[in-house]
């Protein structure tokens, strides 16, 4: 029996100019909150949060965006080497980040500032990385949030291996079980490592959730250059469930991730979540998106802004008042000020620290290079390696 293609081949040969990426995700999209902030229901997913929790989610969205805006400004002022903005992806990140339970472990790429926030990583640590003062600097074990991983896709295997370890530890099969969650992008879906992670996770039935933020772009490359069918369908080829969620809907992102993580911890194995969202800013502060995408696309997506719809929802539900927003603005200002101050005051690392953590115990070669360089720095010409 021939298996029909799940989608027809692309009408145009793929080498023709790509059209603007899709702003509509199709009927398979899980949504609990419309762009207008209307609560809608879904047969398979729901959230039942307290008023405080709804407010807290919105607060996260606002604060995370504020961190992002401040970091972008600091980069413009020369304080950071580069910054990868999460603008537009706040809901996908906060929704999934808050869906994690304390015992879960996240494996981010380089743009998961919102997830970092949910895991209690000080935003200054993130800035330290983009400033070039460190490669992260938080303790992954303590935060249960791995260091940022820049080589596209490689962290998906780390997450899978970690999840295999959860199984070996017997920490799976109940509501107290643990799970791992791997973040990656639409572009990353093409990497061999990501697909190997799918193989391993399915074969070992590992408790890992693959959370793909399809923000429509991998730098200048639209998603239709990475796949000709919706990305959540990739999971079909490996025999585990895939789901497409509205990544600009914090409630749906929360609900879908919560379910996938709970399934994983209960022994149901992996799920692929495609969070359909949009990178509203440049790829990084070094990028110039006007070279490759239309302003109209951004305009269309602005109507789906993840903060706006949650704000409307809170209003409509009468969960907030002017005081709430006043306090939140003040908190955001304070946070931004703290970040700015911390960044400006951030010391450069000690040059000699370069030699210290290459190995668990320093090697003779590095000891010699360290000593020579120390002597060199203090103006005494050392012997040996120059």
């Amino acid at each position: 029996m021939t298996l029909p293609a799940t989608a027809a081949p692309p009408a145009a040969a793929p080498e023709t100019t790509p059209v603007a990426t899709s702003t509509s995700a199709g009927p398979e999209l899980v949504q609990l909150l419309t762009p207008e902030g209307e609560r809608v229901s879904h047969p398979d997913y729901d959230v039942d949060l307290t008023d405080d929790e709804y407010r807290a989610l919105y607060r996260d969205l606002v604060l995370v965006r504020r961190i992002d805006v401040e970091a972008t400004a600091l980069q413009r002022q020369g304080e950071l080497g580069i910054w990868a903005a999460l603008l537009g992806q706040e809901a996908a990140q906060v929704g999934s980040g808050r869906a994690m339970r304390a015992q879960d472990f996240a494996f981010p790429t380089y743009r998961e500032h919102g997830v970092a926030w949910c895991r209690g990583v000080d935003p200054l640590k993130l800035l330290g990385l983009f400033r070039g003062a460190s490669n992260g600097g938080w303790d992954p074990q303590e935060k249960r949030f791995n260091l940022y991983t820049i080589v596209i896709g490689s962290q998906t295997l780390h997450a899978t291996g970690y999840a295999m370890g959860i199984v070996k530890d017997g920490a799976v099969g109940s509501d107290d079980g643990e799970a791992a969650i791997a973040y990656f992008g639409d572009g990353a879906s093409s990497q061999g490592d990501v697909n190997e992670a799918f193989v391993w996770a399915s074969v070992y039935n590992a408790p890992v959730v693959f959370f793909c933020q399809n923000n429509q772009w991998g730098i200048s490359t639209p998603t239709d250059h990475q796949t000709r069918i919706p990305l959540y369908l990739r999971a079909q080829g490996f025999g585990f469930p895939g789901v497409r969620v509205d990544g600009n809907d914090v409630l749906a992102s929360y609900a879908v991730t919560r379910k996938a993580l709970d399934d994983a911890r209960n022994g149901q194995g992996p799920t692929l979540i495609e969070a359909f969202t949009y990178r509203m800013g440049a790829h990084t502060t070094s990028d110039d998106p006007t070279r490759y995408r239309l302003a109209s696309e951004l305009e269309a997506w602005k109507l789906k802004d993840p903060l706006e719809r949650m704000r409307s929802f809170l209003y409509k539900q009468q969960l907030v008042d002017a005081d709430f927003f006043g306090q939140l603005d003040a908190d955001a200002d304070a946070l931004a000020a703290r970040i700015r101050k911390g960044c400006l005051e951030m010391p450069d690392p000690d040059p000699l620290s370069m030699f210290d953590d290459v190995y668990d115990e320093i090697t003779p070669l590095l000891e010699q290079q360290r000593a020579t360089y120390e002597a060199y720095l203090s103006g005494f010409a050392g012997e040996g390696h120059s």
């Binding site: 023709t16 070039g132 080589v151 061999g192 200048s220 690392p349 390696h385």
Partner: protein
């Protein structure tokens, strides 16, 4: 003569190669509309079409693996690897496939694939964006490895690499992309595999390639003030390595310092030092010294000036060499 940056000289070189041979293809991540993150392919997709200049899926093994297939079909693919640190997913396709196919087929299959790699540090980037992986490829039989250091070479070397029927790893000194020089695009370049004495001197030879050539030239200029005359050899080709030119220089100066950004241990400098020590055993006045990045991962960029060889460290090594 036009004044060109290295990036622009490469761009013009690519253009010339594409005009000359319709089989030349450019492929890589974001090289089309964006023109690559360094704009080296700027405008080429517009002018040559999406059939000849195309954005690939985000997968380096896929880039090199399909380039091999395209070469088998008669094309001459020029692959861009976005940054040095992202070449490793393609490592198997490069060292086990691309490098060996000519030998495996006893010469019946040519592999005219060029792999462009912006390499080296000094741009304040985050991890994996400042690596110098050239030694890995130089150690691999079947690959040719070159590095340009200036706009003129950039312009011609890229064309020569593309014209080569062997696979060529083409390293571009990313922090020098915006340095300018006059380029006579009508000149006829010498062989791709030849090193060049880029500054003459008598007291010691500085041996470098890629971004460190500029550093060595600056060091030589500075040394002049102290009455020291340094010769600078730009290797240009790392594999094959033009030992005759290097030997000739060091025979004259009797002292040599090799400079590169990559770590020293089992690096290019080791090879050059080993070979010079053997071949010029009776002719040198001092051991070959190495000035290199430290044997650590490339550090966070706030420390890169400490990590990278600079004028002072080069001169310091020259002092040491003169001390023998």
């Amino acid at each position: 003569m036009t004044s060109l940056t290295i990036a622009k000289a490469l761009n013009e070189g690519l253009r010339a190669a594409m005009e000359r041979d319709p089989k030349v293809l450019l492929m890589g991540e974001d090289i089309g509309k964006l023109g690559g993150v360094f704009r080296v392919t700027d405008g080429l997709q517009k002018d040559f079409g999406e059939d000849r200049v195309f954005d690939t899926p985000l997968a380096e093994s896929g880039i090199i693996g399909t380039a091999i297939g395209l070469a088998l079909r008669g094309y001459r693919p020029v692959c861009e690897i976005q940054f040095d640190g992202f070449i490793y997913p393609a490592y198997d396709q490069i060292v086990s496939q691309l490098a060996k196919i000519h030998a495996r087929s006893k010469g019946s299959v040519k592999m005219p694939v060029t792999i462009r790699v912006p390499f080296g540090g000094g741009i304040g980037a985050v991890e994996h964006h400042s690596e110098s992986p050239e030694a890995y490829f130089a150690h691999t039989a079947g690959l040719k490895v070159v590095a340009c250091s200036n706009p003129l070479d950039a312009h011609f070397m890229i064309q020569q690499a593309i014209a080569s029927d062997d696979p060529v790893m083409f390293f571009e000194p990313k922090r020098r992309y915006w340095e300018k020089a006059e380029v006579d695009v009508t000149a006829s370049p010498g062989p791709l595999w030849q090193a060049r004495v880029v500054r003459e001197g008598t007291d010691a030879t500085l041996i470098a390639y890629g971004p460190m050539v500029r550093t060595c030239l600056d060091a030589a200029t500075a040394a002049e003030q102290d009455g020291r005359s340094l010769e600078v050899v730009d290797l240009r080709s790392l594999s094959p390595l033009d030992y005759p030119t290097v030997f000739a220089s060091v025979r004259r100066t009797r002292r040599a310092v090799v400079v590169h950004e990559a770590p020293s241990f089992v690096g290019m400098g080791a090879e050059i030092a080993a070979r010079l020590s053997e071949e010029l055993y009776y002719e040198m006045e001092a051991p070959v010294l190495r000035v290199t990045g430290f044997d650590t991962p490339y550090p966070p960029s706030r420390l890169e000036e400490d990590f990278l060889p600079d004028l002072d460290r080069v001169l310091h090594a020259v002092d040491r060499s003169m001390g023998y």
